[in-house]
Symmetry: C2
Subunit: 174 residues, 2 copies
């Protein structure tokens, strides 16, 4: 599997809490090992995501930073390919062939408008549809296209959903 | 192209505004003709989405209803296949072959917990990963898998993004 990290730029306490929570859960569900959030540490967010991980398993991590550039530069040094999702970028349909061969990827998603050097620092600027929509949806579509999500394992899950055509089937692990 | 509608269950004023806005924009970007929102009419939401459509084109519509069941029953009568997105459903990887052959689809996404008869009324209950994440991401992944988004046209767009590897290229139509 690809080594995947998400970097969320510009998280604002309260205002972005729900949207950033969705970003975290998408990153986790699609097998990213962690999300790095640019902004002040947000205890409610950490608690919400941790509670999901405790029940549904896996080793997903959340980190916070108040300095975005050094963190991205460090990821580059660690051989991560930086993929910035923006509606101005080249289409994912065009970029995905190369990205699927890439072993370490950090996907950057904005909340507020990102600084212009984000475009130059990134190795790829990638778009999903070139229309305005949502960083949550762009992240999910890109992660879905880069790998086979059915192969992701969530270790030590207490709750496991059994896919079913009608109703709910849940397996509680003892 | 498939005739696509999104039905958003349980929109709450203020609390869900931002997430429902993202749902609307995803539906629009992926070529759905409208979203029907179950909840009180939300003027701020309408204004935000309308402003995007005015600039980026297309004929996307928003409707509101306070009675979810009659609306879904009516869609069924109009030969729409109801596809309810839920983390408990069968995987999209399994359902998509049949769904890709379906001409009229209404995709149902929840906000609050949905009533249990949503599962029986729907023709399909479909999951993206069987993990908890976001209705925005589930919607986007399913729409991305059902059709080729590069073929969607947005008529009368005043602004058109030209996909580019670095920076921003925007074409303003006169």
């Amino acid at each position: 599997m690809t080594d995947l990290i998400v970097f969320r730029y510009g998280h604002r306490l309260l205002r972005d809490e729900r949207v950033t929570t969705h970003c975290c859960l998408v990153a986790r569900a699609f097998g990213c090992k962690k999300i790095i959030i640019h902004g002040m540490e947000d205890p409610i967010l950490i608690k919400t995501v941790q509670s999901i991980s405790d029940r549904f398993g896996g080793t997903f991590k959340i980190e916070f930073t108040e300095n975005w550039k050094p963190v991205l530069q460090q990821l580059k040094q660690q051989k991560y390919t930086l993929v910035h999702l923006t509606m101005y970028g080249q289409l994912i349909q065009k970029a995905q062939k190369k990205l699927k061969k890439t072993k370490k990827i950090a996907i950057i998603i904005g909340s507020q408008k990102v600084p212009s050097d984000m475009y130059t620092l990134s190795d790829y600027n990638v778009s999903v549809t070139n229309q305005p929509h949502s960083e949550i949806s762009a992240l999910a579509v890109v992660l879905d296209r880069l790998q086979d999500s059915t192969k992701i394992k969530f270790k030590k899950a207490k709750i496991k959903i059994i896919p079913t055509e009608k109703g709910k089937q849940v397996k509680i692990q003892k």
